[in-house]
Amino acid sequence: MLPFSPNPPLSCETANHLPLPKDPPRPPCRSHNTSPAMTAATSPAPSLNALPAAPGVGYKPQHFSQILADAAPVQWLEIHAENYMGEGGRPLAQLRHLAEIFPISVHGVGLSIGGEAALDTAHLARLQRLLAWLEPASFSEHLAWSTHEGHFYNDLLPLPYTGATLTRVCDHIDQLQAAIGRPMLLENPSSYLAFAESTWSEPEFLTEISRRTGCGLLLDVNNVFVSANNLGFSPQGYIDDYALERVGEIHLGGHDSDTDDQGRPLLIDSHGCAVVDPVWVLLDYTLERTGPKPVLIEWDTDVPDWPLLAAEAERAAFALGHLPAEASRPAVRA
């Protein structure tokens, strides 16, 4: 059982090793003009979120005590929004406490932004409530759908990249950003298959959504690696095509391996093991082009003990600490 009271006083020892100010700057509220003329797609977006360009991890309650004792090198935490939509109890008490110490990134997994149906307004209201009291440093969601005709599938399901999908996703993001009063980050999915009807490449599709809605992007480098393997494209080419100036956060995670009907390797995003070496190499490739960014380690199933998770974060810290000087970076497309 965790030795925990709802509002324990912060001792000096606890406070001393905290790597961050207790009150990280809040992201300013922005108006969300969706007119393309008013939204410069290529302008840097420093206000996309308020996470530090440092390692973070997906928070798991079993790590609560160790994180409070010594979180290094982790400087921020991500939570799944839906796990903190209960009425009270330990989950919310822990989150209240952690949010006094760490910048928090709220990552939604159930809004079904790509759903053919209208957004679930009851769920949107729950999200509004969470973001209002927590005032997190960032909010992100997925380019995916998960709900259809009132059934929630508990997975991130794929979308055809067509004009109709584009309109629908942009409408949903406009509605969402107006409701929560802040810009969101939209994450690229892991793909196992493609839609014959697609008329856009994924990076172009995400860039266009960002341009139309003003939302930022979350770049999951493991998802790029997984999708590139599964659909036979170059992961570096994908990164080159991504609107890197709109990226507010980078994700890394582990994946499983299977084969398709032709015996070709089929990688499956699982968040159940360590990040593999080629994905770390792809992170270096990405950071050389973006400069320092908040980098998250996601490990959601078969969750390891804290030292192993912290070691993954240490590797992200190393990557962030060994970037070439700005002048020598390859130019991000303007």
Binding site: L193, F195, S201, E202
Partner: protein
């Protein structure tokens, strides 16, 4: 990567309805418009989604009903979860509350009718989970009750913490639950049991209540005064001792307010 296919005839479109139906029912063909990188049929690639939802929801059922899983065994629970998921797919992204229909689903399974206690054990697990996520509330100081005159105490109604739960069963559900969660717990004996769940801080605790205690608490939850509820409890058991449930409630932080009957 670039835009493509714009000059071609429209490719097969895949609605989310078609996708979802094929995902839920593996006997249905995979929609034609789902392809691999060469335009070939998606095949096993689509199975990733079928498998993801099946596994994630099965695991959600295991973690939601650990005692039922232990009682039935993992294999049986997996089979039961498959049937349950087909009958009651989640209707909300709040997976922590998934499985509300599971107790009545168990009741309706003819092959489980010889395990009549299962539905009420599932109700206990569900109640513990809801108590865990219930809203926080500040309990009253025990002195507030102790300082009342007997007349004033009997005329009072109690306001309870949102985490409070009361379950009554013809089966020994508290004993079954404890036997399957605590290593030293005694084997369950046949007989009805009532269970009071309190959440003193963050962990819900099930307590055994006497039959009369359950009658008293049930009346209290419906807004009776302590005295009126006491009358009903003593009709069940002339020796009913009010101090026992009151102590459990106070120790469990389950009383958050007091209303004096006008």
């Amino acid at each position: 990567m670039s835009r493509c296919k714009q000059s071609h005839a429209p490719a097969a479109m895949v609605s989310q309805d078609a996708f979802a139906r094929a995902m839920r029912d593996a006997s249905l063909p995979i929609p034609l418009g789902l392809v691999d990188q060469d335009g070939g049929r998606a095949g096993r690639r689509f199975s990733v989604y079928r498998n993801n939802i099946a596994v994630s929801l099965r695991e959600a059922m295991h973690s939601a009903f650990p005692v039922i899983t232990k009682l039935l065994g993992t294999e049986n629970m997996n089979g039961l979860s498959r049937l349950f998921l087909r009958a009651h797919p989640p209707s909300s992204p709040l997976m922590m509350f998934y499985g509300a229909e599971f107790p009545s689903f168990l009741e309706e399974m003819p092959q489980l009718s010889h395990l009549g206690y299962l539905p009420d054990v599932a109700r206990l697990e569900l109640a513990l989970r809801h108590a865990y996520h219930a809203a926080d509330a500040t309990p009253i100081a025990p002195e507030i009750l102790a300082n009342l005159s007997e007349d004033a105490l009997l005329a009072s109604r109690l306001i309870f913490a949102p985490a409070l739960r009361l379950l009554q069963s013809p089966w020994p559900i508290e004993a079954i639950w404890r036997f399957n969660t605590e290593p030293q717990a005694p084997a369950p004996q046949a007989g009805a049991q009532a269970v009071l769940i309190t959440r003193p801080e963050f962990d819900p605790v099930p307590h055994l209540l006497s039959t009369a205690g359950a009658v008293w608490l049930d009346a209290m939850q419906q807004g009776a005064s302590i005295g009126a509820a006491l009358q009903r409890a003593t009709a069940t058991d002339a020796d009913f001792d009010l101090s026992l449930p009151l102590t459990l409630l106070l120790q469990g932080g389950a009383i958050t307010g007091l209303e004096r009957k006008r």
